[in-house]
């Protein structure tokens, strides 16, 4: 492969991707002129600047040697994201208590060191603590139990 600095290379690619989306989107808004900037002016400017930096990173990564990316373990990330999404789906219909017990219990398995009993106790204790803080102490309007 010709990529000599993988970290920089992929960072550059990420910048280019975001820059492309930004520029294309900004072009859909009115640009205006310098004296009367439209909503597209500043974002487009930023988009081009980001694209420039992305190009610099990519080219530099092909020329000079640099750090490689540390090995990726997908388990923690996937479990964490899944926990958040499950909470998002559950909170409205099922209420805080049930969704949070489920979310925290699941998230405990983001690490391979997780233990069943510990995760169960932890999720119950945390749900109690969080409900206490957010519902009873701060009186935030949260659905606590399933709405029938």
């Amino acid at each position: 492969m010709f990529i000599r600095a993988p970290k920089d290379f992929w960072a550059g690619v990420m910048f280019l991707a975001f820059a492309a989306v930004t520029i294309v989107t900004a072009n859909g808004y009115s640009m205006g002129r310098g004296g009367r900037m439209g909503p597209g002016y500043f974002p487009a400017m930023l988009g081009w600047a980001l694209a420039f930096l992305g190009v610099v990173l990519v080219i530099r990564a092909l020329v000079a040697k640099g750090e490689s990316i540390e090995p990726i373990k997908l388990r923690p990330l996937l479990v964490l994201v899944a926990s958040v999404l499950i909470f998002a789906l559950a909170i409205q219909p099922l209420g805080l208590v049930i969704s949070l017990v489920g979310t925290t219990f699941l998230s405990a398995f983001a690490t391979p060191d997780a233990r069943w009993r510990e995760a169960a106790i932890l999720s119950l204790a945390l749900t109690g603590l969080v409900s206490l803080i957010f519902v009873f102490a701060l009186r935030l309007p949260l659905p606590i139990w399933p709405s029938l």
């Binding site: 920089d8 310098g34 958040v84 957010f134």
Partner: protein
């Protein structure tokens, strides 16, 4: 009103029972997360943002500030006793501090660390009380051109002083600015970057963004590493340092305080940079520098004084100019804005009780922290035994519930999930998230000032070169960029960070 009556006003505010309670909560939480490796003040402040929205702005700010400098106290405890710095800003403390502990002098090391922090904290608060009002006076005269240039300068400085690749850091600032622009444009009413999603109509929810990046993404990266087993804490002994120790430390503490206060004010500065710089300076100027690294008490006193001074003075740009110098300050700005207070020079004249209340709370918090830390040190050390596999679940719980409470909107949880993945990718690619957060907070303000400046000049960019202040900021920004681009200085900077 003169400084004295202002300080009295401040104490009147800070000593109210409610604010004392939040000051104590902040100090306790700060010490706690300072001791715990793997969770820092930024994460904690981010997790507490939703809670702070329910408090009045003064209490919220007093609590968040307490967390930030409380972490400086707590971080040194584990650095000294078990060679695990709870915070990056106490890494240098562990060099000499842990050596002292191994020589059976853990007590004096802890004592000196806490007392130098206390001294530095008191001096820094005084400096803020004296120095901030004139600075705000100057800032009141700034027009949109000056403000735009100031923000450019602030962002550049934040990038330069951050560690890692400069190009990536600038990219992250720009990306942050772009994310900050999402939502309804205040001038035209056009909904930008919402892609038809109702959840993005009011922009990217800042709480979701900061919790994703400093909470969940960090957890994901931490879980990939093997958990570090903590060492055994030995007996601590007498905490109060002897008179001889105190005498050796006085010049170091003074130097650390001065350097820390100065570096704290710089954008991008704050506790971390201050502690590293103070240790390096101490090695240069102290007599018998060879003792450093082998349990020299001066190597504990100077960085501890510096990091606390820096933590406090880093609030100056936020309170006087409305510019965050580090992510914690960006979070505080967000907390203020939710309460309809826009941070800037006007805070001091329009809401004097807010500014002076915070300054006064610094003294109170420092006093609380010394009391919390010295006699109770054994208690804090025990916290290290909490395994990370339990701690991170609590972070997940707070992120989910906290994000949802902001608008009772599940779309914000989708934002949380999206930025968790994004933050993870950034961390993996060596892109620091701090510049992104700063850019995000400044994005709308920067666009507004650019637009106004160019409206005044009818589109002529020369307006940025028409006032000496604006030229000064732009020159400073250019100078910083050139300096960092120069390879020799760059190497030096990296060395200083490694040391």
């Amino acid at each position: 009103m003169d400084v004295f009556s202002n300080i009295l006003l401040g104490f009147g505010v800070a000593l109210s029972p409610q604010n004392l309670v939040y000051c104590l909560i902040g100090s306790v939480l700060g010490t706690m997360v300072g001791v715990l490796p793997g969770i820092g003040p930024v994460t904690t402040v981010a997790l507490l943002l939703p809670i702070s929205f329910t408090l009045d702005p003064i209490s919220a700010l007093i609590m968040m500030a307490g967390i930030y400098y409380g972490a400086q106290y707590g971080g040194s405890t584990t650095a000294i006793l078990i060679n695990i710095p709870g915070e990056p800003s106490s890494v240098v403390t562990s060099l000499d501090g842990h050596q002292m502990a191994r020589q059976g002098r853990a007590g004096p090391a802890l004592g000196v660390a806490a007392l130098s922090s206390f001294f530095a904290g008191c001096v820094a608060a005084l400096l803020i009380a004296v120095g901030a009002p004139p600075l705000a006076q100057i800032a009141l005269q700034f027009g949109p051109a000056e403000y735009f240039s100031l923000m450019v300068c602030g962002l550049v400085a934040a990038v330069v002083l951050a560690h890692g690749s400069i190009v990536k850091a600038i990219g992250m600032v720009i990306l942050g600015l772009i994310f900050g622009l999402a939502g309804s444009d205040i001038n035209s009413g056009v909904r930008r970057f919402t892609y038809g999603l109702q959840g993005l109509a009011d922009g990217v929810e800042f709480v979701a963004l900061s919790m994703a990046i400093y909470g969940l993404a960090e957890v994901a990266v931490n879980l990939e590493k093997k958990e570090v087993k903590s060492g055994i804490a030995q007996s601590i002994g007498r905490v109060l340092p002897s008179w001889a120790d105190v005498r050796t430390c006085i010049p170091s503490v003074l130097r650390g305080t001065t350097l820390g206060s100065l570096l704290g004010v710089l954008p991008g500065g704050g506790a971390l940079l201050a502690s590293f710089a103070a240790y390096t300076l101490e090695k240069k100027v102290a007599r018998a520098p060879r003792n450093f690294g082998q349990g020299d008490i001066r190597g504990v006193a100077a960085p501890e004084a510096a990091n606390n001074a820096g933590a406090q003075t880093s609030m100056v740009p936020m309170l006087t100019l409305g510019i965050p110098s580090n992510p914690t300050m960006a979070l505080m700005i967000a907390a203020l804005m939710v309460h309809g207070v826009s941070p800037g020079p006007r805070v001091m004249t329009d809401r004097p009780e807010l500014f002076w209340g915070i300054v006064a709370s610094m003294w109170i918090a420092n006093l609380m922290l010394v009391i919390l830390n010295l006699p109770l040190v054994g208690l804090w050390v025990r916290l290290v035994r909490i395994p990370y596999r339990m701690m991170f679940v609590a972070i997940v719980a707070f992120c989910c519930v906290g994000t949802f409470t902001i608008n009772s909107n599940t779309a914000d949880l989708a934002v949380l999930a999206f930025f968790t993945v994004f933050g993870y990718i950034c961390l993996k690619l060596g892109c620091e998230p701090a510049p992104l957060i700063l850019g995000f907070v400044l994005g709308p303000m920067m666009e507004e000032n650019l637009r106004r400046a160019l409206l005044i000049s009818r589109g002529d960019p020369a307006i940025f070169l028409s006032s000496p202040i604006s030229i000064g900021f732009l020159l400073a920004a250019a100078f910083l960029l050139i300096v960092v681009a120069a390879p020799t200085i760059r190497r030096r900077r990296d060395e200083a960070m490694v040391e």
